[in-house]
């Protein structure tokens, strides 16, 4: 029978863990021992001892949504007086403020609004790029599929047009747990596992990098968490397109599932560490300070995490579910140093940037580059690292960074 020691030996030897190994770790109570292993793997991938974060802004362009997920406290149905759909000017203002604060990207996400077909998105992206140089990290898989549905267009074409209009990368939101049994319980109207993965596969094929996420602590079992991690690992073997894996715990307040017992810090930390150990082909693992608080995020840096995510200038989706914390940069850096690391700012590709968002050091991703010999056309001659596709769109930046 496999023991913890066997798994530790595998990790030391750099061997891939099986699903049974991951499951054993998920039931193992000796947390510091799991932490040591995850830290060893983190150290191999990030020997320089830096922990990164990104300064960006979460812009939720609309909260109108027809998908009605039970775990969500953010959406409003069409016609609800609390529903909104930001005019472009509002979004431009937010981006201007983001640039002034040294922000390098926007995380652009919204509900599944019945009016949002490809033309709306093209206008949105082109408008943004024409207005300011900023990296658009936008839309989840399910929003993209929603757009396909509204415009009655195939996925590859929608992604191609979105990319041409200025979409730079895609966040991994909506992944939740990639097991259909779970999805049918918590979000029956949302995309099932295969279509979610297909959007990611197609995006990677077209040269768009994405992240992968996992939302746990609701109706899923430990086996299903491991199954989720396996699905992500397999696709990454195929495409190498994921830049980061981000897991967080379900926030129950104000959702239809508010009576779900809140999962705690122990479960979070163990699951995060196991994800680092099992998913051996993704470089970066992000701590979730929004759901766990800064103290836990800082601690998770000793459990395999190497990134604190974003200093968010605005955040709507999770804070509506009563999340406790929005952190300032100084607080984040304090946590990073207390955990024994040096803080560094990054962009979506984990290139290092300075306080104005200018590129300091490019980070190579050998696996991705091997699969994409032509590169992902990051315009690194631009002085603004966030403006990756400004040159590709027909827009001209109207202001230069200070």
């Amino acid at each position: 029978m496999t023991t913890f020691r066997d798994i530790a030996d595998k990790v030391h030897a750099g061997e891939r863990l099986s699903e049974a190994d991951a499951l054993l770790l998920m039931h193992h109570r000796d947390l510091p021992a799991i932490g040591q292993l995850a830290d060893l793997v983190r150290q191999r991938r990030h020997p320089e001892g830096a922990v990164t974060y990104i300064v960006d802004r979460n812009i939720n362009y609309t909260n109108v949504c027809v998908t009605l997920c039970k775990f969500c406290a953010f959406y409003r149905r069409p016609g609800d007086p609390e529903g909104y759909d930001h005019p472009l000017e509002v979004i431009y203002d937010k981006i201007r403020e983001t640039r002034e604060l040294g922000g390098v990207q926007i995380l652009l996400q919204g509900g599944h609004h019945p009016d949002y077909g490809i033309e709306r998105y093209e206008a949105l992206f082109r408008g943004i790029k024409a207005n300011a140089p900023i990296h658009i990290h936008g839309l989840s898989s399910s929003e993209i599929l929603h757009c396909c549905h509204v415009s009655k267009l195939p996925l590859p074409e929608v992604l191609r047009r979105m990319r041409a209009a200025g979409l730079d990368s895609i966040p991994g939101g909506g992944g939740e747990i990639l097991v259909d049994r779970v999805r049918k319980v918590i979000s029956p109207l949302k995309t099932m596992s295969e279509p979610w993965l297909e959007v990611m596969r197609e995006a990677h094929k077209q040269g768009l990098r994405t992240t992968a996420t996992m939302m746990f602590g609701h109706v899923e079992t430990f086996e299903e968490r491991v199954e989720h991690m396996r699905a992500i690992r397999s696709l990454q073997d195929e495409t190498a397109g994921f830049t980061a894996f981000i897991s967080w715990t379900f926030q129950a307040p104000h959702t239809e599932m508010q009576d779900t017992p809140m999962t705690g810090g122990f479960d979070y930390l163990r699951t995060a560490a196991v994800s680092r150990l099992f998913i051996d082909n993704i470089d970066n693992f992000q701590a979730s300070f929004v759901t766990q608080g800064l103290d836990m995020a800082g601690l998770s840096l000793q459990y395999g995490m190497n990134d604190l995510g974003s200093v968010m200038i605005e955040e709507n989706v999770v804070s509506a579910a009563n999340c406790e914390c929005l952190a300032e940069i100084t607080e984040m850096e304090k946590q990073i140093r207390a955990a024994g690391f040096e803080p560094a700012r990054r962009n979506m590709f984990y290139d290092r940037v300075d306080e104005q968002g200018g590129l300091l050091e490019r980070r190579l991703d050998a696996n991705w580059d091997a699969k994409n010999p032509e590169g992902d056309d990051r315009p690194w001659d631009s002085e603004v690292s966030g403006s990756c596709s400004a040159a590709r769109s027909d827009a001209t930046p109207q202001e230069s960074p200070r």
Partner: protein, 403 residues
């Protein structure tokens, strides 16, 4: 699978002792037959921790230099693993909690400690002092027979007479005779003695006769003359705090000890604090728990300092477990360290998580974001999630029930 066996040999050849290196007590009954203390992490400690590990295995007291090393090492996980092994050899897989409620009889306080957001002057609008009718109602209506303890602490009220404190204890006991009263810090006891005009030992005896069952550990802050002078000058000085504990323990009352850390104190001062507690315990054996308290700065004159980090809290909890070899229990007080870090602390040396509390004011006035109270169900769920067996205890660890 097994995590360890009684004769585990670590990769460097060290043999893990098969029994606790420290004497077991009724409240530290050891792991029992069903449970093996975790040793997986002990084989991968950083080299600098190996000598400390060997001392811990041998039951040898850690020196101040060892303490300095434990604070300085980057291997916090290793420090945690050592503390975890130690606590598991004493307590097995048990984590205790209690069903309690706080009673802050007054927030009027003559002192102006820089770390406090709870105190009020007597003439402030929200100054409160409970009269006996109020106390009777509170104890009757908001406590139940199942509750194990009332935690009674208040400000240093300059005008309450000695009789108030005796009445307070008698009123609680009259209303709920079986409720354990854990009341009055050393600071309050000294003030009460001053009001009584009697020596402290006499006053403690009389309070005990009136119903006092044990004393909380608050008010120790950091037992350092330097910090005392800077932050709470005028309050009972460190050596007198220790003297007061001697009197309390001599009177047959058990107590706890705290350390309020994460403000201006140095790591050296934390270690000196631990050392003073350890030496006093050698003398009296009256401490049940040691409770490292994370300083909360909001609404205090020290707000600009900010709060210390979770990793610092865990390290301090783990080092407390390792240094205080003669104190039976280390508490992760969830109100102050936060629920999630308190859970993790159960694998970094802590074996108790405090209780339901129900209505907490002192830390919440200083910006705590934890709930003011938790149900026993929530507490047991938090403990169970960490793989521990929740055990409901009374204040003196005489009645322990696995739940």
């Amino acid at each position: 699978m097994t995590t360890a066996t009684a004769n585990t040999i670590l990769p460097d050849g060290a043999r893990v002792p098969s029994a606790s290196p420290y004497p077991l007590l009724p409240s530290n009954p050891g792991p029992g037959d069903e449970f093996e203390p975790a040793t997986d992490a002990l084989g991968e400690l950083s080299d600098e921790l190996i000598p400390v590990r060997d001392k811990v295995f041998g039951g040898e007291r850690l020196s101040m230099d060892d303490g300095r090393l434990l604070f300085a090492t980057k291997d916090l996980t290793g420090v945690g693993a050592l503390a975890n092994w130690l606590t598991e050899t004493r307590n097995g897989n048990r984590t205790t909690f209690t069903f309690n409620r706080h009673l802050n009889y007054t927030n009027v306080c003559a002192y102006k400690c820089m770390f406090c957001a709870f105190r009020r002057s007597g003439d402030e609008d929200d100054a409160i002092t409970m009269d006996m009718d109020f106390v009777t109602n509170r104890i009757r209506n908001e406590f139940t027979d199942g509750m194990k303890e009332v935690h009674v602490v208040g400000g240093i009220h300059p005008e309450l007479p000695y009789s108030y404190y005796l009445d307070l204890l008698r009123t609680i006991k009259k209303t709920r005779p079986h409720l354990h009263i854990k009341g009055f810090t050393m600071i309050e006891l000294n003030e009460i003695a001053k009001q009584a005009g009697k020596p402290l030992d006499v006053v403690v005896r009389e309070l005990k006769e009136a119903g006092l069952d044990s004393c909380p550990g608050g008010g120790a802050e950091v037992l350092s003359p330097r910090v005392h002078k800077k932050l709470y000058n005028g309050k009972l000085p460190p050596n007198e705090w220790l003297d007061a504990v001697r009197v309390v323990h001599a009177a047959g009352l058990k107590s706890n000890a705290t350390m309020l850390f994460g403000h201006i104190e140095s790591l050296e001062e934390r270690l000196e604090h631990l050392d003073q507690i350890r030496r006093l315990q050698d003398e009296t054996h009256g401490f049940m728990q040691f409770i490292p308290l994370v300083f909360h700065p909001d609404n205090t004159p020290l707000e600009r300092l900010g709060k210390t980090t979770g990793v610092d809290a865990l390290r301090t909890i783990a080092i407390s477990r390792l240094m205080l070899d003669n104190i039976p229990h280390i508490k992760a007080y969830w109100i102050m360290v936060g629920l999630r870090i308190a859970q993790i602390a159960l694998h970094y040396g802590a074996d108790d998580i405090d209780g339901t509390v129900v209505e907490e004011h002192i830390t919440h006035d200083a910006g705590a974001t934890t709930p003011q109270g938790l149900t026993t169900g929530r507490l047991t769920a938090l403990i169970s999630e960490t793989g521990r067996q929740p055990v409901l205890r009374d204040t003196l660890y005489e009645d322990m029930l696995a739940v």
